[in-house]
Amino acid sequence: MMTKTVSSGFSRRMLLATAAVLVLAPAGAQAQDELNALVWCDHTDPALVEPFEKANNVKVNLKEYEGTGAAISIIEQSRPGDWDVLVIDAVDVPRAIDMDILSEMPADKLPLGDLFPEVRMEETTTKDGKVYAVTEKFGYNTISFDKTKVDPADMDDLSVIWSDKYKGRIALYDYYLPMVGLTGVGIGKKTADLKQEDLPAIKEKLFEMKKVARQVSDVVASQTALATGEVDIVVGGGEWLTAGLSGEKPNLDWTIPKQGALRWAQSIGVFKDSEKQDLALKFVQYIVSPEGQARLATSSCYWAMPANAKAGEHLTDPQKAALRWDKQPEYLKNSQLYPVADADMDAAMQDVWTEMLQQ
């Protein structure tokens, strides 16, 4: 009897221990300093992350995604504490705040005053005076093109993207939000006032664009297509598509047409459930510091303007030229933010986009 209890007690403990090992092993591994960040692909450049890893003796685990939907999908399939740092489109920060996944950051520990005023975006990155995210990088979804193959003057008018003139030589960037917005801009709708009623008109234009386009592709496939001459125009492109290739492919260019273009802005924040709030904040501070900003602006996946104006001191003149540093005031004025959509509007835009793909 005695032995039986002991042995069953023992085996139960064994079972518990095994279960604990199974469940806790990954968490145990996290006991040494590691930081888990969910990011856009520009943060995966070792040149950006390694200096932080070395300085703080941590390992930064990066998982990349494309599009806020994908990020939310990953977050929903994770458990609290799985993630420490989130990079997310600035316009989608309210969505993240609603989901209650971001923690407040101390404003006095962030260089908010050094950011270009136009991209501070307090209306989305803060709520009730509390800072939940800080803008780190911005750029434009507009038109990239090969200036040796198309007439640059044609690129000043957005209507070129649905005209027959460059039929079969156009790639569309495969991200519904900026593309629906840009098409709206093309027919004179402000992204800020975009409503479901506007979608049929936009859909019609999108279908026309699909007819003259050769392909619809993600970041790298668009880049490849333009660099290899597979297409001569990328709609939705911008400095993020061509600036990084400026050394090797000087024939690639981008512009903002007279109707204007879309402006994107990425922001970075800390997960509420992160067990490493301090380290995560440190990482955010590094990313928005002038040095971090310069590295982020010129990271391998795509280049774009740093949000922190002081990053300019750490960028070379050719880099600044590729980013069009001096033209920013003009560009900022002539660009609109991504449409901000509630769940229904978002679903409707995605349906329009998928219908266009299947056209």
């Binding site: 995604y65 939907g69 939310i72 999908s73 929903e76 609603d98 989901m99 392909q215 793909l357 299947q358």
Partner: protein
Amino acid sequence: MTATAYERAERRKAWAFALPALLWTGFFFLVPFAYMAAISFWTRQGREIVATWTLDNYVAFFEKAHLFKGLVVSLEITAAVTVISILLAYPLAWIIAERVPKKWQRFALIMAILPFWTSYVVRSYSWLLVLSKGGVVNQALLWLGVIAEPLELSANRIGTIIGFVHFFVMLLTLTIYANLIQLSPNYRRAAADLGANAFQTFWFVVLPLTLPGIMVGAFLTFVLCIGDYITPQILGGNNELVLPQVIMLQLGRRADFPMAAALSLVLMVVVTLAYIACARWLKMERT
């Protein structure tokens, strides 16, 4: 020990051997599958996933043309790939089995399937280098003067089909060859004795005898082709979406797991129907 006790012991042993595999499959395949089937009746409402029991996702699949078209595109591409692959692979398998000297056959066969051992992702991507406007094929054809303008071979359905056919020609060459060499030469001799010429022998004797093998290969092609995401994603240029792409889109863009589950189940049903049709045909063939 009585006979029944012995039998019971034997049975216990049998269960002990079979159980690990059964439990593994049950827990990591059957349970997930059942769970996914359940989720497919839930819905994403706004930004929440709600555990309702509705057919909404399935209704949406039939009502929303862009979702349903995913299945149509998948079926069209899969059918084309299956037919083209068989037509290309059969003669090669036949040549290897009939015309290549015995001692070189194994070598010829291995050469025919060697590119299997390149990474699948990389292989699709290198087709892009071959098929693009400035790619090897277009360059060669332009240089030869066969064409004046580059052909559009990638970023469309042609690209997807070429990428798929490449993979399945290798696979089918293997399975059809295995079938051909199992045929006894007596059949052919008998046909020749009865006065059949080479073509008649092939058409009336060899081909019917290898048909079951072809069917099995065709089914394998169907299953693997209709469920693949990589090849159309890399070579299709997003000009149309196959069902697996639509499924990944639900997951990647809208975080809509219920919809992805429902579409997966549709895919599953289609494969099952193909399986039943194939099994039926094989049974009829045998009787």
